[in-house]
């Protein structure tokens, strides 16, 4: 459990006060950094370090008032990816191009890393913080809608899972992860009964499968419901 600093507990819980500011630190895949807020603030501590000035990384950063609104933040408390959304203004710029267009032209923000904070300014501490990657979902003449997917787990971003849920061990026999040294002996049959390094067996043990051999597997006798949700 992460405790709030005492400064937040004092002023964040007070019955009167100034609304916290929404801060969005962004670093795109090309290394460009952007600092946006829903009101202009100067000299704020960023999470994503700004570019070094004269070899020194500044400890504070100004935030541009580009955030029109912060949409729904969904937190699932499970393996499902948490999401959030932002509406960014798409008006500022000049007659040649809007500011956001220049950013989109450079990197499109696709996959850009972000840190979103609801920040209690007088306490100099966030009430809420979320890390993830961005994708642009909609852009029109006045605003841009951006969606954020949380880190560290976004299962849809994983190309291939290394293993599947199975009774069989999926390690290659005599591979480094398997651990057995090939001295010409017979290889295993990927089953628990035939496993030669049982402490590294990667299958799921149960009492249902008996097709590995004549002997009953020396496994737990508890009945497992393999269709349960974890």
């Amino acid at each position: 459990m992460i405790d709030f600093p005492s400064s937040v507990l004092a002023v964040g819980g007070a019955r009167t006060g100034i609304a916290p500011v929404n801060l969005l630190d962004v670093k795109d895949t090309n290394g460009n950094q952007y600092y946006w807020a829903d009101r202009a603030v100067i000299a704020f501590p960023p999470v994503i370090p700004p570019p070094a000035v004269g070899g020194v990384v500044p400890s504070v950063q100004s935030y541009l008032p580009w955030i029109d609104s912060v949409g729904e933040i969904k937190i699932y408390r499970s393996l499902q990816t948490d999401t959030c959304s932002f509406v960014i203004q798409n008006i500022s710029g000049d007659s040649m191009a809007r500011d956001f267009e220049r950013i989109a032209r450079r990197s499109a923000l696709e996959g850009a890393f972000f840190v979103f904070r609801i920040f209690q300014t007088d306490a100099q501490a966030p009430l809420f913080e979320m890390h993830g990657t961005l994708t642009v979902t909609h852009a029109d003449e006045t605003e841009v809608q951006i969606k954020g997917n949380s880190l560290p787990l976004d299962a849809s971003q994983v190309d291939g899972l290394p293993m599947s849920y199975s009774e069989s061990c999926q390690l290659d026999w005599a591979s480094a992860r398997c651990g057995i040294v090939n001295t010409g002996q017979a290889p295993c049959q990927q089953s628990f009964q035939t496993c030669q390094v049982v402490e590294r067996y990667t299958g799921i043990l149960n009492t249902f499968e008996k097709n590995y051999g004549e002997a009953t597997a020396a496994t737990s006798s508890y009945v497992m419901n393999r269709r349960r949700k974890i």
């Binding site: 007070a14 603030v41 300014t121 100099q124």
Partner: protein, 273 residues
């Protein structure tokens, strides 16, 4: 510098216009509600200031010369994407920077006179002013360490601070006290213009720095006084545009040679509204 363009320079009659540019019925000085309010069925209300919106005026000029009305139209169009200054001459001469947000629509009345009614002037935050509001006796509010509900509002951001109830004459107030350790700081966030900072002065207080919105604006303010004199206005900054601001006082760990300690006690913050 659009803030130097003043709609109504003269308090009275302007010979160049054959009229006065001051509106009829004065300035209402209405401030739109910008705070969220929630109240539980059986609780005391919670409020949060959500916007830095400033004053809004509904102004009328009745039976004016064509030159006067032309000037109004010119200001409306010229500053559609900018701002100018209007002066509340009847209310102490306070300046406001902003622009007309509804159309200036002249209507001829009689005898070559024209009326412009119910034009909205809205103040614009975060822009410079020729003269920042300075009527501390009438326009400022006092922010204490704790609000009237007893909730702590002054935020100790670094170091060990303690609340202490005190009495000065018949006045009861609370200070937030620090031993004066180098780098210890406390911050107050407010909405408004300039501020006046009240700290305790006495023999046991040291040297402090003051930051506004993270930028140091006062260095080594000496809080030493031979006698304990209670809260004193130790620093004032009037030239601050309307916005959310945060005032931070940082202990330096240093003290006047005659002082017995380097302490720091925050009493009040007067804020111009």
């Amino acid at each position: 510098m659009p803030q130097t363009d003043i709609l109504n320079r003269c308090k009275g009659f302007d010979p160049a216009l054959g009229d006065t540019m001051n509106p009829n019925f004065g300035f209402t000085r209405k401030r739109p509600i910008t705070r969220g309010l929630k109240k539980a069925v059986g609780g005391s209300p919670y409020t949060r200031d959500t916007s830095n919106t400033g004053h809004s005026f509904t102004l009328s000029w009745i039976n004016r010369t064509w030159a006067c009305v032309q000037r109004l139209k010119w200001y409306y169009e010229q500053y559609e994407d900018g701002f100018f200054t209007i002066i509340d001459h009847d209310g102490g001469g306070r300046h406001f920077v902003g622009r007309f947000t509804t159309e200036v629509n002249p209507v001829e009345t009689a005898n070559g006179k024209w009326s412009v009614e119910l034009v909205t002037f809205e103040e614009i935050p975060k822009v410079p002013m020729m003269q920042y509001p300075n009527d501390w006796a009438h326009d400022s509010i006092r922010l204490a360490v704790c609000n009237d509900f007893g909730d702590q509002k002054l935020c100790p951001t670094t170091g060990t601070w303690a609340l202490n109830p005190r009495t000065l004459g018949n006045v009861h107030y609370t200070t937030l006290d620090d031993a004066g350790t180098l780098g210890d700081s406390a911050t107050y966030e407010y909405k408004g213009y300039g501020f006046r900072l009240w700290l305790l002065k006495g023999p046991e207080f040291g040297l402090v720095n003051v930051l506004l919105d993270g930028v140091q604006i006062a260095t080594n303010l000496d809080l030493y006084n031979a006698a304990d004199v209670g809260p004193q206005m130790v620093f004032m900054n009037e030239a601050v545009p309307l916005d959310f601001h945060r005032v931070q006082v940082v202990a330096t760990g240093n003290k006047n040679g005659a002082a017995t300690a380097a302490g720091l006690s925050w009493a009040f913050l007067d804020v111009m509204r």
